[in-house]
Symmetry: C2
Subunit: 192 residues, 2 copies
């Protein structure tokens, strides 16, 4: 289907939701809340098992110091069995705004705070099977405010990188976590 | 930790894997294969429930016609309850290379084929709890080869967009699926 080229941004696509024929929770744990649903498509086709993962919203931060350095972390990621450079990231807790969560995570994981904050990007980790959103913040002019203060289940190293170093890592797909690569590529596209 | 600035790309971070104390499968279904593991961090902390989602590798394609139009799709995404513009995407099937999977998905979902193909990006959907990779291909000069031929569980509309239209959607975060936004932002950063 061709779109009208007079307006630059295409109109939203046709919305043809599925009908939920049945739904049951398989698990309701903090990191593992899953529903199995039987759904019917507008085409009439029935998919007997659609798995929906419920997660709280997630946040991450592109944090840049007054000296122009990017505050990054590295940590082991168990499912992939790898350790890579990443943005500071975490979960929205009950009663927090996304920005409050992002500020808390930056402070806990790196000790950095302050600076000018703005919401920079919103994505879905995977709208097929994840209910949640990922909010990315851009924090410019952050400074060391306290010592790192991680939780028991975290083992995180902090790194300060130049813009060129972050771009070199990105270019080789070494910032592998897609939820972090997307806002970083957006940042460098908009700030070339 | 500061890095040596003489080499532009930082050395890999320290790798401190967890020890798996126990592991059991909770489910082994095509779209839902999950292990629950009890793990011990190098810090000595024990996480009693770490959920690992096993998925096959996934693929997607930035497909551009001879006329310079981007071949995009839209489809309802059930967990998020939304319909957005997306890249053509799918799963690697047994015995296929990632490029073969991507070519097959493009042909099935849109009818487009041919062109010059290259692997453009590799990401992880989420290395914390996903075992798999996402391979993005860039296919330039694709042409309509056959009718769309979707599976029973698919309801997909095909769209041809100009570069400006895709950039306008991206700028407003309307290509919401992170696995698709990341390679598109990378493409526009590298091809400004």
């Amino acid at each position: 289907m061709k779109h009208d080229r007079k307006s630059i941004k295409p109109l939203p696509p046709k919305h043809r939701p599925y009908k939920v024929l049945s739904s049951e929770y398989l698990a309701q744990r903090p990191w593992f809340t899953v529903r199995r649903e039987r759904v019917e498509l507008p085409t009439g086709a029935v998919v007997p098992e659609w798995y929906v993962f419920e997660f709280p919203d997630w946040v991450n931060v592109i944090a840049i110091t007054r000296e122009g350095e990017f505050v990054m972390i590295s940590q082991y990621r168990h499912a992939a069995g790898e350790t890579r450079y990443e943005l500071v990231a975490g979960c929205c807790e009950e009663g927090e705004t996304a920005e409050q969560s992002a500020r808390r995570e930056l402070l806990e994981e790196t000790g950095y705070g302050g600076g000018r904050w703005e919401q920079f990007m919103v994505t879905s980790p995977n709208p097929t099977n994840h209910t949640n959103r990922v909010y990315t913040f851009l924090a410019v002019g952050v400074e060391p405010e306290q010592a790192q203060h991680t939780e028991a289940g975290e083992d995180i190293e902090v790194h300060l990188f130049s813009r060129e170093e972050v771009e070199a890592l990105l270019a080789d797909d070494e910032i592998m976590q897609c939820l972090h690569a997307a806002p970083l590529w957006k940042y460098f596209r908009l700030n070339p």
